[in-house]
Symmetry: D2
Subunit: 337 residues, 4 copies
């Protein structure tokens, strides 16, 4: 069985998960190299998983011509530069969201992709690869909901992660760019259209720290799409019950709800309080299968030389929309696209 | 609008509820008399609700020929004697379950009913009048489930009521007679057949006090019905979450579940523990509407001179089955009917 | 028992329900008079329910000094004039929503209320009297959700009623005034604040007929409140599954959801399609108890001479906000309040 | 990374799934050999997955000393003989349930295990490795339910598989042995005790074909355990909605429900019928993760030289209980253990 040799960059929480998935969960992939700024992390992973190549310098990794593909899970500000280098060096590339932190970067990424038409490029909007979202998309395609009327997307991080969020606030770009970008992608995917006007509000309801960066701990946006459909997004950081990613698509013939209760498993607890469904606590728990599935898709695209559904232009569009929402939020005015 | 004048006997918790329903919730009934052993309760009700006649002696109330009907919610041991007297005195009669506490009494009740064929007699199996049970029965009639395979009935009182249950244990007759009789009625109603063999087990899992009376705090029975259908009943006293009356009818074509979650209202609480549905806390909360509906049906039967669906023979049959289950529980042997 | 004598005006669907409730469901009320333009309806109700007084002329009914209170369920355009007349004639008044169809009318209503400070005036925002909403409000008061972040209200009529909606479109004032006004009231009630800016969008996704009146078959609005809380409202007419009134209040400490599934009863159907909860089909089914409760509250206020929670000023505010949302919808611009 | 080399026998539906899991889902295992009576299936798997060794003769495979372990997923009647041979030939062994089809065989299996104390032997009660069951077991251990009162286990195959079930009926041993054995294992696992008396009933409600073999299409059993706990099992073949494996453990302090709705994913469909949750359609869909997890556990036990939780004696006990239930079902009498 041919195996795609992959080198990963970034060993933060998600980077480590991706590396682990490549190493153990993707039958037709092989984790051949890891790269991170922190030497000790690189060595630890190499030792524990018997990974032959370790790097602290991304450019060095790109010299390893034994590799087939590069998976980029470094900090957001490095995505575009690294993906461009990797593509131009002849590798297939998988990059975590967001594509870039400004539009110039996104355009640079587009150019690198266009300059390397024979390379597979894929962007990590993992929700599209979650079995429930896949199923919902298929039902929409089959006409179950009729014409789409409203997309509603909630993405709320648990209060238990608030300290990390506050630390990350100065460089996150704000919640629309950091968090709502996932729902922007889903809205475009389900509605098959793009927003033309956006209103965005919110505030610091529990944590004034975000105010310093003209951000809120909970923000929302209402968007009118070019095909007349509506989208309402909520991005928050204060869920007491866990990681609440919930999506609804209302149509003229039916409605689909995904993870209306973001239940962690099939157990119901019946106790003093009543009947309880416990919830997933973080994105890795909720989207464990999706992270595996998206890498399987990436590897499959390489092996079969087909293009992934998510394109670099989707990345640019989502970034553009997230910026417009951020601008609308800051100004209190409608943003037009 | 013609109103049926009703006198009630018994002002315990349920007796008071019935009296209140007659007084305020049944458009075509009028609470004209109340009777109870406790003079102060009678006077209190008379004063608060402006009820003209009060009695501490049941026989005295029966002399009041202004009354049309008698509602009996006294202690179980008095049901059969009182209903016989009331029927023979020319009144329509509504009597709370159980019909009687032994078969001789039930036969006496049957005779009184048969001797007064022009009088309406109704037995208080209120669950049949709950909107959800009514709906389920209609779906069964329409063929939704196909041929019935299994009836499952849970009736579990909340742990919070355990003290009253322990006090009541010496005279309750045991859980099959006191509690499971409701599920026996439902099983016969949904399955349209009668049990022919019964196995019953259980124990004192939290409260050894019931052991003195050869009873358990949780007991169950598996019954084979004459039409081959099965019935599984659980009667308990230790639910931490409230009053759990839950029913399932599995058939060859479909399954119906009633109050799978015995939720108290349509509110979901999403908090630290996850997503919570709070439960009904007692039978009066859960079956509030059913208690009203059954009295409306009683009054309607009087006004239209039609017979209620629940007959005195249903009462006898349920008592007989409950006794057989009790015997099976005590002996550890199968009971045959 | 003292009974409040009530005369009702309007015998449309909801008017008839109100009349029926007064006649049969409100212990301390008595339906003494009915009034409607349609003489046959008046006579039918009088005959069936034995109601002594019938009118086709509202002013005639006001001459009946035997009455204590007037319940107004006529067409929206008559509310303000009739309530003013009734108050000035010395009656207590209950009026269906909306208070008025423009602000001038609302101001006239306010004056009539202020001129008759000893009369009870109540506005029919029945949702506040639904047991689930009452429970949610109490939980909010107790601090369960912490500080409110987002109110989400869906009010979607079933597709099965679309013909009536289309007929009514020319005079309805549009969906914000006709339908969303309920959610506007709930948002103000739960958030204890007023909106300051509104963005509203929508369209004719299934029924172009509403376009003629610059209305949509589904519309939504995102509002920023003065206390920073957000509100998102959806008002629609095309639900395939029934009458979907669903409310969510997200706070910093917890979230409450009311009728997330607008289930009609406690039955679950398990069949070919999976596990199904059937839904309420119309507002009278969903809010049956709320309509009774609000009239009980009205009568109780009269008997105890206390003021209802809902004031005439709530009516004016909701109308004002609904007009601003309508304006925002038509112009595509933000409305500021 | 050391990989355990595994040879599998049996390429039926579940055998193929196990082989696929070994090949692609178990990081520390390697599928080195496959064996089946059907030569074409062996060759197909070898070719598609590049498996070096293929056999149609089990004894031949055992001569391959390059293998570390044998996974047995052949027909039930071969389990005991094959596992004994494999253990005695020096291999670790994983065998699908049931251990054997009679007690003599089980005893033979016990002897083979006892004769090879340094070999890992594991029995495929995969439900124990399902994340939801694992979670429930942990909650029980932590005391969430207090003292166990009742275990309820439903295992109902979909009607859509009825043809296969009818074909298989002559040799299946009946539903208690074929199907309920899973729930017998779960009941023993959760209750930590063994049954002492069993009553079993049922019938052919939709498919008289099972009657020929003194079996039913739906059967149930009520068991009293030595620690007084109760267990109620339902095994069926006629679910219209899918594969319904549902478990409840009621205790004095709380209740746990696993897959009360056996939902296939997190999508809710809101359409004409109401709010629908679609269900898993077969055991491979429902227990996909459990099948992977149990093999990971097997491999981990080999690598760490620890004994799996499920022992050969669990296999014997479950078979013994299933036989007693079968006997009770056929005789209509209580079975004592």
């Amino acid at each position: 069985m041919k195996k795609i040799k992959i080198g990963t960059v970034g060993l933060g929480r998600l980077g480590l998960k991706h590396a682990e998935n490549v190493a153990f969960k993707i039958p037709q992939a092989e984790l051949t190299a890891v790269c991170a700024l922190e030497k000790d992390r690189v060595e630890k992973v190499q030792k524990e998983w018997k990974i032959p190549n370790g790097y602290t310098d991304f450019d060095e990794m790109l010299k390893n011509k034994d590799l087939d593909a590069i998976l980029i899970a470094s900090s957001s500000g490095q995505h575009c530069e690294q993906l461009s280098k990797a593509l131009n060096a002849g590798f297939h590339v998988f990059v975590e969201k967001p594509l870039g932190i400004n539009l110039e970067e996104c355009k640079m990424a587009e150019k690198a992709v266009e300059d390397n038409p024979d390379k597979i490029f894929m962007l990590g909007f993992m929700r599209r690869y979650d079995p429930s979202y896949q199923y919902a998309k298929q039902k929409v395609k089959e006409g179950y909901i009729g014409r789409p009327i409203l997309f509603r997307g909630y993405s709320v991080d648990p209060e238990s992660c608030i300290e990390g969020a506050i630390q990350f606030a100065p460089t996150s770009g704000g919640q629309f760019i950091d968090m709502a970008v996932h729902d922007i992608d889903l809205a475009r995917w389900f509605l098959e259209s793009d927003p033309q006007s956006i209103y965005a509000i919110g505030g610091c309801y529990a944590h004034p720290e975000f105010g310093k960066y003209q951000d809120g701990d909970n923000v929302s946006a209402l968007m009118k799409f070019k095909n007349e459909a509506m989208a309402f997004l909520l991005a928050g950081r204060t869920a007491p019950h866990g990681y609440n990613v919930e999506t609804e698509i209302i149509g003229t013939k039916g409605t689909l709800r995904i993870a209306n209760v973001p239940q962690k498993n099939l157990v119901e607890l019946v106790g003093n309080d009543g009947v309880v469904k416990e919830c997933s606590q973080n994105f890795i728990e909720r989207f464990e299968q999706a992270f595996v599935n998206e890498l399987n898709e990436f590897v499959s695209c390489i092996l079969k030389n087909k293009k992934p559904e998510v394109t670099v232009y989707d990345g640019t569009a989502c970034t553009e929309i997230a910026f417009a929402a951020t601008e609308a939020f800051k100004s209190g005015q409608l943003a037009q696209l």
